[in-house]
């Protein structure tokens, strides 16, 4: 499947098979979750990042099923570059109606970056000015967990984390995704 037909697929799924929800509702709900975490964890932003990632992971485990059902992907991705393309053009398109740009491939084609030109989760947001949040909090960290969880269910172990965020004053919002390994269908240890 070519890159353009994937874009068309994403568009089609978004238009015909996705239940829409008001954008502000999503933004404010996600915002409340993050803000409440920050409060509950007493400004331990490293821990907030971790919790967001964990929540996202649990979402990803479930979301991949929905993704596969709605997108009707017939064949497996041939390589990691294909996977990246599908994540951006079908996955993000279908759930958030955005298409992050894929950039900065490593030479071994195992690492790439998703550049978010827009981020519906982060509308209105200004990080608290406590001297720490700007340096430690990855506000949209849930997205990393989602990708990690979803790919794990399709036999790919990846590491995903943000490296830049406009909320911190960077020029772009960039998520780095690296393939750790393909998970073989493992048999349970004492399977006869």
């Amino acid at each position: 499947m070519s890159s353009t037909s994937r874009a068309r697929l994403g568009e089609e799924v978004w238009k015909t098979r996705t239940d829409k929800i008001n954008a502000e509702l999503v933004t404010l709900t996600y915002g409340s979750v993050v803000a409440q975490l920050c409060k509950d964890l007493d400004g331990d932003y490293a821990e907030v990042n971790k919790q967001l990632d964990k929540m996202g992971y649990n979402i990803g485990l479930r979301l991949i099923e929905d993704f596969l059902a709605k997108s009707n992907m017939q064949q497996k991705c041939a390589n990691f570059r294909d996977t990246a393309d599908v994540i951006s053009k079908v996955g993000f398109k279908m759930f958030l109606n955005i298409t992050p740009t894929i950039a900065n491939w490593s030479s071994d084609s195992k690492q790439f970056s998703l550049m978010f030109d827009e981020n519906p989760l982060a509308d209105f947001v200004e990080l608290p000015d406590d001297g720490k949040a700007q340096a430690e909090l990855w506000y949209s960290n849930m997205l990393c967990g989602v990708i990690r969880g979803a790919l794990e269910m399709v036999q790919m172990q990846v590491d995903a984390h943000f490296v830049n965020d406009v909320l911190r004053g960077h020029d772009t919002t960039e998520m780095r995704i690296s393939l750790v390994r393909y998970i073989d269908d493992e048999m349970p240890a004492d399977d006869e």
């Binding site: 502000e24 933004t27 404010l28 996600y30 915002g31 409340s32 993050v34 803000a35 920050c38 509308d123 209105f124 947001v125 200004e126 990080l127 608290p128 000015d129």
Partner: protein
């Protein structure tokens, strides 16, 4: 010689009449009634009485129009949302003489119609909504707002002046 009307001051005042944000680009202004920053605060205080006095007669409309004229140059206009947040805009008509009364007619404050301020208030309201939609915004805080985004947006509105009035 009349110069274009401008907006030197935009103030946002909370439900409890607590100041939330005051944008002040060039006050105190010499040769007006506002010569010290204390004057400005007193003036904003007195606008609150006008809001209170007019409130019983108000219907759903949020536009309070001209609250009062301060002197030959300055006039205060008000807007109150249904949640009790008040926006006060002080307009500098920039008259240097009585010839400034423009062809748009009217006497003091007549060069600007109440309706001219509507888009200004609308954009202030929009920025205010964005400000409070920030999940880290503390609604219980009694301190003044310190938000870069908001400050910039308000400064921009003030700079843009009143659309359609020159």
């Amino acid at each position: 010689m009349a110069s274009a009307p401008s907006i030197p001051v935009i103030a946002v005042i909370g439900k409890q009449n607590n100041p939330i944000y005051i944008h002040n680009s060039r006050l105190p202004l010499p040769s007006t009634s506002l010569t010290t920053s204390l004057d400005l605060h007193l003036l904003l205080h007195s606008t609150l009485d006008v809001f209170d006095a007019r409130l019983p007669q108000k219907t759903a409309d949020q536009d309070f129009g001209l609250l009062f004229a301060i002197d030959e140059r300055l006039a205060a206009y008000g807007w109150m949302t249904n949640t009790g947040i008040k926006f006060v805009v002080i307009v500098d008509q920039g008259f240097s003489g009585s010839s400034g009364l423009s062809s748009r007619g009217g006497g003091l404050g007549g060069a600007i119609r109440d309706a001219d301020l509507k888009p200004v208030f609308k954009s202030i309201h929009t920025e205010y909504i964005k400000l409070i939609s920030n999940p880290f915004f503390d609604h219980e805080s009694t301190e003044m707002v310190k938000s870069n985004k908001f400050s910039k947006a308000i400064a921009k509105i003030a700079e843009a002046g009143i659309p359609g009035v020159y």
